[in-house]
């Protein structure tokens, strides 16, 4: 149970970062933390205490192996996360060039 609670705390830290921080880079870091916590959660779903790797070899037991599907899903999610983070950072750099600041309070040409 404790790993799940820690995972939830990590998720909330990321959410806190997104909501309270005023710096674009810190918001991106908050998103990254949230993403890691979700990835961690999916990995924990497939984990079994004392389980073996899901590879068909000598020590393979049919009822005691770690579920490989969440791991495959997480690999996909990590790649997608890489793309979104890279895009967010690229946008942040472009915004810095236009506005000369990372502070979202000063980036306010849109309103209404």
């Amino acid at each position: 149970m404790i790993p799940f609670i820690l995972c939830l705390i990590l998720f909330l830290i990321g959410l806190y970062g997104i909501i309270t921080q005023k710096n674009l880079i810190k918001i991106i870091i908050g998103l990254a933390i949230m993403e890691y916590s979700v990835n961690l959660f999916l990995i924990m779903i497939g984990y079994i205490e004392g389980g073996t790797a899901p590879i068909f070899a000598e020590k393979f037991h049919l009822n005691n192996y770690v579920d490989p599907l969440p791991q495959a899903m997480i690999l996909t999610a990590i790649v997608i996360g890489l793309a979104t983070t890279a895009l967010l950072l690229a946008m942040a750099i472009r915004l810095y060039r236009k506005y000369g600041t990372f502070d979202i309070r000063k980036i306010n040409s849109l309103k209404g």
Binding site: L69, A77, M91, R94, S109
Partner: protein, 507 residues
């Protein structure tokens, strides 16, 4: 016909790569490939709609089911999917036609078409996938390309809008991924049809997961409390992209998945049905009221999108609450008919309105309605088509918007939600008022001061607008029973016979 299903993902993805690799060598290659690809997909969808009844499914990789358990990834083509595919490819084709002259101003014009094609691939994949994790993957393909397209002009406000859109979009994707994790934890499978057989688990578990999905996809569909990114993103984007985002993207990656998950995957639940009804009503009212005060024409249209999507969500909510209470199926079917018809109609007239706004901006370079005016004589085609679209969205007969709004209001009356019917009529009046403002300030007021000579837009842009204006009239024919049975009713059946989905897919 089953073997043709994967083409919806393969063709746009493959052509995006071909454009990226060979586009440098041949001038205008991207435009030609994109147009051919979308025209082909539109025709293919029409063939599917006219020829096949019932549910088709395709087994990616060809792995047979092991006992009862589906191993392969499923692609499912049923009535709802076909309707959405028709919207995506037809509106996509017309918008691509409009883009041909519109994108000349961009230096990286080639990349616009690559991203457009990728966005189509993402939306098609999402609509056609029968597997919840693939929905997430295709969602990200569509969303990431739309983030880039919003900021395509790299101006100040576009970058800002895109950043805001991205932060909220990423948050939504993470919530969706978390919900998928919970679903996998509870059921041990990712196939939507199989999940619906494995559920029901405990009611609280289902409520929690539904809430995560509702917030995630509600953010993508810009339903009321989650709408704050939409006016920025949709008004800042280049106009053809605004048309795609408002006309197609929020439906394909937001509303469609909400329908699919809450009808076909989860068993219907009274609390969720009530939440959807209330949120739909609120976004209908608030979007409409916010639109009145706007002076930026694209921002006005963006708020109007929130309001019109509210109509759709409200009608679906009415149908859901009736079905939960085991009420009359015909009234529920009537509400769904109104919702899906309005979905189809909105994609046509809202994309037309955004294209009109794009045409005005292309000729004058101004978006503030106070500085515009008197364009009716100088831009006759833009003016007339936008008049048709405005009448249509305000619900004036004989245009298509009238019939879908009428059906929604009648459904609310027949379901004894009299106050909802009243609100729908009231918001319809509000809609007329802000579109009168739109028409008056742009096309009829005293002429504004323009730097250059105002001309009508180039031929491809005019043709695209005229086609959409004709569609506004022709879609009124959807109320004729024989046409309705062919196009809309298969989609209504998916929602009405919500529990038959898993048997239809898995047999």
């Amino acid at each position: 016909m089953n073997a043709w299903i994967p083409l919806y993902v393969v063709i746009p993805l493959a052509s995006a790569f071909i454009m990226a690799i060979l586009g440098r060598l041949v001038k205008n290659m991207g435009k030609v490939i994109l147009l051919i690809e979308l025209l082909f997909l539109t025709c293919l969808t029409l063939v599917f709609i006219l020829n096949s009844k019932g549910t088709l499914s395709y087994n990616v990789g060809g792995f047979p089911d092991v006992g009862d358990i589906p191993i392969a990834i499923y692609m499912v083509m049923d009535g709802l999917t076909k309707l959405l595919l028709l919207i995506i490819s037809a509106v996509g084709f017309i918008t691509a036609l409009f883009s041909i002259s519109y994108t000349r101003e961009y230096t990286a014009e080639r990349k616009f078409y690559i991203l457009f094609s990728l966005m189509i691939a993402g939306m098609n994949g999402m609509v056609i996938s029968g597997d919840i994790f693939n929905i997430y993957v295709f969602l990200e393909i569509a969303a990431i390309s739309s983030y880039i397209l919003v900021a395509f002009g790299v101006e100040k406000h576009q970058l800002e809008a895109s950043f805001k859109y991205q932060v909220l979009g990423c948050l939504a994707s993470l919530l969706i991924l978390l919900a998928i994790g919970f679903i996998y934890w509870g059921t041990g499978t990712l196939n939507i049809a199989d999940i619906s057989r494995q559920l029901p688990y405990s009611a609280n578990f289902i409520k929690f997961v539904s809430l995560l999905f509702l917030v995630g996809f509600g953010l993508k569909a810009a339903i009321f409390p989650f709408h704050s990114w939409l006016p920025d993103a949709h008004s800042s984007a280049p106009s053809p992209i605004s048309a795609m985002l408002s006309g197609v993207l929020i439906k394909a990656i937001g509303l469609y998945v909400i329908f699919r998950l809450f009808f076909n995957m989860f068993a219907l639940n009274a609390d969720i049905a009530m939440t959807i009804l209330v949120l739909g009503t609120l976004s209908m009212i608030i979007g409409g009221l916010m639109a009145i005060g706007q002076w930026d024409m694209k921002r006005l249209l963006a708020y109007s999108s929130i309001s019109q999507m509210g109509y759709v969500v409200m009608a679906v909510g009415i149908g859901m609450t009736i079905m939960v209470k085991d009420g009359s199926k015909t009234i529920a079917a009537f509400a769904f008919l109104g919702a899906l018809l309005h979905l189809l109609n909105h994609s046509v007239f809202k994309s037309l309105l955004f294209l009109n706004a794009g045409a005005v901006e292309y000729s004058t370079g101004i978006r503030d309605m106070r500085k515009l005016g008197g364009l009716a004589e100088k831009m006759p085609i833009t003016s007339k088509t936008s008049l048709i679209a405005s009448l249509s969205i305000s619900g004036i007969p004989p245009f298509n918007g009238f019939f879908s709004k009428l059906i929604i209001i009648l459904a609310a009356v027949r379901a004894h939600y009299y106050w909802l019917a009243f609100l729908a009529v009231a918001v319809s009046v509000v809609t007329i008022s802000y579109f009168m403002k739109f028409q008056k300030y742009i096309f009829y007021n005293k002429p504004g001061e323009y730097d250059n000579q105002i001309k009508e837009v180039p031929a491809p842009m005019s043709i695209a607008m005229v086609i959409l204006a004709l569609l506004c009239l022709m879609l009124s024919l959807m109320v004729i029973p024989s046409i309705r049975d062919q196009f809309i009713f298969p989609a209504v059946n998916v929602l009405i016979k919500n529990l038959q989905y898993s048997t239809a897919v898995l047999g």
